[in-house]
Symmetry: C2
Subunit: 708 residues, 2 copies
């Protein structure tokens, strides 16, 4: 600011920050704010174009600051601001900070939407604010047209203007943009809005003043792909889309994907291409949903386990499938989205978060970024279980944090389950079984009321629907007409169903359906049974939705992998309990922590300290999308956390077999004592034996070995 | 170096630099050299692998340095060096600087091939040394394999090793290499040679120790594409390839290319694709010639005029065809070769030199880099004429340098000439006409002896070849059997032919064939004539090769554009003469400067001060390929030189018409007085009139206007 000796000054106070200073009479409010370090958004940087720097004046006497503030202590809004207000509605009292000059003492309020670094709050167990400071940002400039005497290139003049007005020096332009640059700068009279990536490279040029800027945060799971479309200016999630990972067609678990990529000439290309196709389709879906187009998306952050990570980057995953499991790259990768085959904005950047080890990937790094176990107090032990086809675990605190992976299998995502499906409308996500009547009450995704409140069909509850009724109902379901019916069970539904059946005494601790139980819902085929959750009239398919002996077994294998992994990590860390458990995963909606514990997915913990946090990896991807400093934080965390190869330890197999039964011992699960006693009492009342035969144990061990 | 107080030291002198110092006893020679700033090549950086750091010991007493040097003042070659000499032949006295330790005073000689920054000498009028310091360099490393405990990515470990051994920090890897990285590092036991671009990015990874590293320097002319394949380690040109620019099929001059690109949906893609195809084919040709493959090429530098530059970068050239002729980009462009469609090494980089203005391109910048007119003494005026389809001119010196372009037309490159061809084997490149007999003696590219020394066919000189003889000769020519015959005329040939015909009194100053001339070589069709340069038995086609009235006119239009452009630049600079003229261009071999002057291509100058320098733009591209600092120099020069739009000045049309006649006035060409007098005397002896009719002048002006 100019010397204050000759010029009269005025005191200006900015709220809510409370920063204040004497500024020379005639200073614009935007300059005054900047001089005090008050960050006000201004895409056009003081050209009265973007209207983002709106503030209001608080009128009155403020004794604390010894000033009297009044609206007319600013220059008239008909002045430089007139250009903007002439074409935009002016909210009462709103002024453009860049267009009005200080002519007296002022108390100025900067509304949240005008603050430069906005905050978005992530709703989760641990509510966190994300400061919006993305890698891709917008800048509006007006550039000088060339003349016969000054035939400097359009890019060179644009770069000079960006440097002069925004201090962006040494910028380059993605050369692929050069082909459309001349039309873009001429389309709106040499006014353009450019998207700059990492203050380094221009990745999009749009004619005129624009303020739309979008990014994608993507979690590529073995079974499920989830995507958020975010507004990179406000941080808002504008759309969410997800689907089954189409690679499932080439192998359900990671080992079979590695094998498919390795044993076929075009194996990797097929796997890579199918994931990229899905991402392109999801991007169009999300963009349409948000009222924009995929080619307006300039940044994408991707996370996934190591195998998904390698396939995404077109890297053969072979080494990840054999000792010593060395990845091709651990560090974060910046790559042009187009080089991955993604069809976003032509210059769009992709950022892939770092991975930790051959079996602990970028998804786990994203979970760290979202849940910050590295900030857990030194006297607490946190356990984070990311439930997916490849389960990933974090254990520890700010002093020492371990990570590990455990081959869970896809059961928690609804695969390898008779009526399993991913968490989508129609999926049974919650289940209650009356321990006396064994009647079932469930809730499906997309419908608020539980099934016991559903309008009954004309036929009985036993599925005695007439052919005509059934035809009508199916037609309605197909047309999207009428209420949503059950179409399958998602991860959270199967977890609750099995836990409820166990607590009702229908399942034995070793996971068998008790033959002593009598219920129209339970039927047998040889040694195997199935239990009806939804009768045909409650389903969109017209057939019963059941839980089978094999479903229970698949879930047991998965939960044993998680539990035994966590136990071995506890041994390694030298702790005998955990203080807080976070259950993450895209396996469904929020499962009741009680059910997760009753199932034995996690070591014993205080019930009130077990939280489900949803798709934490996707949240971490979103954090890295919205804040570039968090990308560096992710790199640091990936190298700081200690990877433990629990699944390779000789002890793992024993621990795994030991963890197969459902919890029934007080010593291992003291916090569940009451519930386990109740379940035991139900079994006893039904005359069910808790004994597990030696043959069963051997079978379990054999299946466990094959299941990895 | 460690403290020298405790340890005995020895004096080591390095030649030819003469640098010397006391070094601790036991220091390796490589470390000693580095400590003194003596740069010795060492791709493997002291691992006794590359053998590049070979030196010899000079034995004897050197009083000037007060030392006695002896071979056994070095540790035994059986020590660490043994690893290398065991598998490589050891030249007498050669030692590996990295493997032997100083054990006494030494006088060490570093042969040129062991010096780190080699020099290659460019043969031209002004002989210049190019210091070999390319953007792409090789580094050999041995990396740690991963273990179960340390599963860090292969790239991460490679990067750490490159940083530790070569101080290359903050390196990234072209993500496209990640897919082949794991195989590459495992193929030769974790030894790899990487190519690093600009100390910034790994662009190639080869298994084991390698020392082949190649780059291309390319000049894309409107009519001709020329390419050099260079060894980036030694700087040597290993192969040269050229061909007609296939874009010629879509328009011979720049305006028609612009129009083709603009008026067709796929116009730009067609032009771009045809040039890229030609480059890909030339790269394969050059690589094969050099005994390597195109996918071993990691760097390419491209120059061309602004229109070629835009089309190469897939940028619509439309704006270059209309005022104010603003380019899309003036600055140098770094782009992945693959993004241009080039099939070189997958990670190869392309560097496109900057352009100066809408009509003065990167080729002119390359000419500046090769000829350095900006280093001309302040009291000299240099004129550089780059003869191509778009002629480009530089005029001035280190104080003030002007550049301009002039629409020459493709005649100098053999296009728009009846029997024109590019400079390739069979092209008539030199011509002498006996002023008395009008007999012609010529030389073709690819054959040393002039035509008068060629073995005469059985038929007479008048082309009375029998059908059988002709069939036999054509068969031989097709099979490459027998000597090369004439197949056309290249630029230098047409220049010499017309100059010679003028000096022989066959052509009048206004470019007409004089009807008074009698010769079996001259024949008429109406008002137009043609003059036989080569009789059918001297040609590969079996038909005469002639110079026609239209050929002379095309050359006149071209030379008038160059001459008038240069004159207007001289006016602008306020000078009335030039001290030195450099004639550049890919138009053929070195034309005699006398012929160029007699033709009137350039303003009058002292004959001994006119030099032909060949494809200077191609040389400039090679300089930028071999030395990265020169790329920055090119950027500086492009912005420093003053562009003058001479062709747009109203005065240009008059000056152009005035320049159409062949030189015949003493006042304008004092240095040619004697030659012009001789020519005038020949014409007078033949009774030829020098008068040009008013109708001729008008015709000339009309043709000139249409010719632009």
């Amino acid at each position: 600011m100019p010397s204050q000796t000759d010029k009269p000054t005025n005191r200006v106070v900015f709220q809510p920050s409370g920063r204040q200073a004497e500024v020379p009479h005639g200073t614009t409010l935007l300059d005054a704010a900047r001089a005090m370090g008050v960050e006000i958004e201004a895409i056009c940087n003081g050209r009265q174009t973007c209207g983002k720097c709106q503030v209001t004046v608080e009128e009155g006497h403020f004794p604390k600051h010894a000033i009297t503030s009044a609206a007319d202590h600013l220059s008239s809004p008909d002045g430089r601001e007139g250009k903007y207000w002439g074409t935009h509605p002016q909210l009462p009292g709103r002024r453009l900070a860049c267009g009005c000059e200080v002519q007296g003492d002022l108390m100025v309020f900067v509304p949240e939407e005008s603050q430069a670094r906005k905050q978005v709050v992530r709703k989760a167990a641990t509510e966190r604010a994300i400061v919006v400071d993305p890698a891709a940002k917008l800048y509006y400039v007006e550039i000088e047209p060339p003349t016969l005497e000054h035939q400097l290139g359009d890019w060179d003049r644009l770069a000079a203007e960006l440097e002069a007005r925004f201090d962006l020096s040494g910028l380059r332009i993605d050369p692929i943009l050069l082909g459309t640059l001349q039309n873009a700068v001429r389309a709106d009279d040499w006014k353009v809005t450019v998207t700059v990536w990492q203050d380094r490279e221009v990745i999009r040029v749009q004619p005129g003043y624009q303020e739309e800027i979008y990014g994608l945060a993507v979690d590529i799971g073995t079974t499920t792909i989830a995507m958020h479309l975010c507004d990179l200016r406000t941080g808002a999630v504008l759309a969410t889309a997800s689907r089954m990972n189409p690679q499932v067609a080439y192998g359900e678990d990671l080992m079979s994907r590695i094998s498919y990529a390795d044993n076929r000439d075009d194996g990797l290309a097929t796997l890579h291409g199918s994931a990229i196709n899905a991402l392109n389709e999801l991007a169009v879906e999300a963009a349409t949903d948000a009222g924009t187009t995929a080619d307006a998306i300039t940044d994408i952050v991707l996370v996934g386990n190591s195998v998904m990570h390698h396939i995404l980057l077109n890297v053969p995953p072979r080494e990840l499938g054999q000792a010593p499991f060395g990845p091709a790259v651990s560090d974060a990768v910046d790559i042009k989205a187009r080089d991955l085959g993604l069809r976003l904005a032509p210059g769009a950047q992709a950022h892939v978060l770092p991975i930790e080890a051959g079996h602990v990937g970028a998804d786990n790094v994203a979970v760290m970024l979202a849940e910050r176990p590295d900030q857990a107090p030194a006297d607490e032990i946190w356990l984070i279980v990311d439930v997916g086809t490849n389960g990933e675990l974090l254990l520890g605190n700010s002093v020492h944090l371990l990570s590990a992976s455990s081959p869970t299998g896809p059961a928690f995502e609804g695969a390898q389950i008779r009526h399993g499906m991913r968490a989508a409308p129609g999926a049974i996500e919650r289940v209650r079984v009356d321990p006396d009547t064994l009647e079932v009450n469930f809730k499906v995704i997309g419908r608020d009321e539980w099934s016991d409140a559903w309008e009954q069909g004309s036929s009985g509850t036993e599925g005695q629907e007439t052919a005509e009724e059934r035809r009508q109902r199916k037609r309605k379901a197909l047309l999207g007409d009428g209420p949503i019916l059950a179409t399958g069970i998602c991860g959270s539904g199967i977890i609750e169903a099995i836990a409820e059946l166990f607590m009702a005494g229908v399942l034995t601790p070793d996971g068998r359906f008790a033959p002593q139980v009598e219920s129209p819902r339970l039927s047998w085929q040889g040694a195997k049974a199935e239990f009806v959750l939804a009768w045909p009239h409650q389903t969109g398919t017209g057939r019963s939705i059941v839980v089978t002996s094999d479903d229970v077994r698949a879930i047991q294998l998965g939960k044993a992998a998680l539990y035994s992994g966590a136990r071995l990590m506890m041994e390694r860390l030298g702790v005998d309990h955990v203080d807080k458990v976070l259950l993450a995963g895209a396996f469904g909606s929020y499962i009741d922590s009680k059910h997760a514990m009753v199932l034995g997915m996690i070591p014993d913990a205080e019930l009130g300290k077990v939280f489900t946090v949803g798709n934490s990896a996707g949240d971490g991807a979103r954090i890295a999308l919205l804040n570039r400093a968090q990308r560096e934080e992710a790199r640091r965390l990936a190298r700081w956390v200690d990877y433990v190869a629990v699944a390779l330890e000789p002890r793992f197999q024993d621990a795994f077999v030991e963890a197969l039964p459902l919890p029934h011992k007080h010593d291992a699960f003291p916090h569940l004592a009451e519930l386990l006693d109740a379940a035991a009492a139900r079994r006893k009342a039904r005359g069910v034996s808790d004994m597990v035969s030696a043959r069963e144990r051997r079978l379990a061990a054999r299946r466990a070995a094959g299941g990895e």
